[in-house]
Symmetry: C2
Subunit: 290 residues, 2 copies
DNA sequence: GTAAGTTACGAGCGACGTAAAAATG
DNA sequence: CATTTTTACGTCGCTCGTAACTTAC
């Protein structure tokens, strides 16, 4: 019977051009290769090589066989890989979100509901999330708006409200509310990896320069020590990772700065995530939490 | 390493639903199957089966693996088949013709030119021949007309002229030439497997009934013993396989009944058939032969 | 009780490597 | 003379089958 090991040796010979080199490469003795090539010729029942006294070369049949062997070898590898990733997909749950805040309670929630699964989470652009959900890259995605698709399920997952954080001495610090255009042009401190917020800031405040900080510690230092205006949100403040003493946090009035998040998942996965859906629906009634 | 024998066993198990039946089918002991399935799980490093005490069933991973295994198994078979037929193609030369007569001298000619090759010949409809040449089913085709294709080579291969063969007592037996419509309506004796001629007869003599004879001996008997008109051609008469004594053979004047055959082959094969092409061209000058 | 899967064990065969020979440039 | 392929030979190891055990319907 044709065996993968034989195909491997054939491919190695095609690559190395001599049996000796191929044998060395595969950590086999050279006679083993000679035998394997003979066996292949017997199995195919056609000559695959030009057997000269001390030179073995592929003939046309052999070259064709090598082509097929490579394809088969590749597909055999794919087969194993696909089955493994299929299995892995059953033990992992990938969440994609448009912003970090929804993940703060979503991931722990999912962890406690699906203790046996590995929870992976990523922050990506909305368009990528939508595509990823359809392609199976994500099982659950969080978007800042509700998208109604017939084969999707969507349920609200809290709200988030953007604030300006101004030094007390700032001329606008006395205001109860602000529109983004009122600070357009000022240099702003911004924490990185804030998902869709970043695009929003740059769109609504095109004249501002944004000083992005990817390190939480550096960002906190700058918030405390500088007089640069920055951003925060209600969820961020509740989480208390940054000390805003000496600053006034003023709600931003623009409608785009006040979002409701929605979890979306494929209707075909409803059964798998039944526990999560029940949990979401029970929260939905308990509106105080938000 | 993954082995084809393991895939075979996996497929057999998927088909038979129990290891015992699969083992029986493959003429192996049942423990061999148990081991092979274990090995597969080790190679994939994911569970493929639901191991119950006395029942083994494929889980989802396993079902996926079986799908791939079937595909791979099929392709491995294809691989061998393709290489074999590729090799065979190098040792065979398939000729397709629209009528039998051109083959009478073409096949012996090719045999003597390419003694090491097996010559296969078939009579088919022109459309099938054209398709077959392009697809590689035939290396050489003979058509009753010249077709000019940029990547084809075409050269004439003789002429053939159709005759009516009438009993001497037939009212038209004295004529020097006849048109087909003049005998339309009479019952005619026809030898089978005459290629495109058959279609021509039926088209030009729609009111005649044709008594097809596929056996040469029966046909000859009927020609001798009956007074039914029949057909012959100059090439057929030269070949002398039928005794026309007591009959008058009268040329048919319709242009379609007087054809020049053309051999066609792919220009890409010109080198391979160089000897044949030279031979054809030298005959072409020697017009007396026709 | 029958039929299925798993485990244990022993034997046989086959695959591999070493060694030697032959050939080529 | 170095490199390569092929052949011969001996041994190690792996694979297979038999047999015994366990379980379920």
């Amino acid at each position: 019977m044709l065996e993968f090991s034989q195909l491997e040796m054939l491919i190695a010979f095609a690559d190395q051009r001599t049996l000796s080199k191929a044998a060395e490469m595969l950590h086999l003795s050279q006679p083993t290769l000679t035998r394997a090539m003979k066996q292949l010729e017997e199995e195919f029942r056609v000559p695959l090589f030009d057997h000269r006294k001390n030179r073995l070369t592929l003939n046309e049949n052999g070259q064709l066989a090598v082509e097929y062997a490579r394809k088969l070898w590749q597909e055999a590898g794919d087969m194993v890989e696909r089955v493994r990733s299929f299995d892995r997909a059953k033990h992992t749950l990938s969440v994609g979100a448009c912003a970090p805040a929804p993940l703060w309670d979503l991931v722990p929630r999912l962890s406690s509901l699906y203790g046996s699964l590995t929870i992976g989470s990523e922050i990506r652009e909305c368009q990528q999330l939508i595509q990823g959900l359809n392609e199976g890259t994500y099982q659950i995605i969080v978007l800042p708006e509700q998208i109604r698709e017939p084969n999707w399920i969507s349920l609200p997952w809290g709200q988030e409200h953007l604030f300006f954080s101004l030094p007390e001495a700032h001329p606008l610090a006395h205001r109860q509310g602000l529109e983004m255009r009122e600070l357009d042009g000022e240099n702003m401190l911004v924490f990185s990896n804030i998902g869709f917020w970043q695009e929003l800031l740059m769109r609504k405040m095109p004249h501002s320069r944004f000083l992005f900080q990817s390190d939480r510690f550096s960002f906190n230092q700058l918030v405390r020590s500088s007089v640069l205006p920055c951003f925060t949100t209600d969820l961020s403040m509740k989480r208390n990772t940054t000390d805003y003493t000496g600053r006034v946090n003023i709600p931003i009035l623009d409608p785009e700065a006040n979002v409701t998040y929605y979890c979306h998942l494929l209707r075909s996965q409803a059964e798998r995530f039944q526990a999560f859906l029940q949990d979401m629906r029970s929260r939905e009634k308990d509106t105080d939490e938000w």
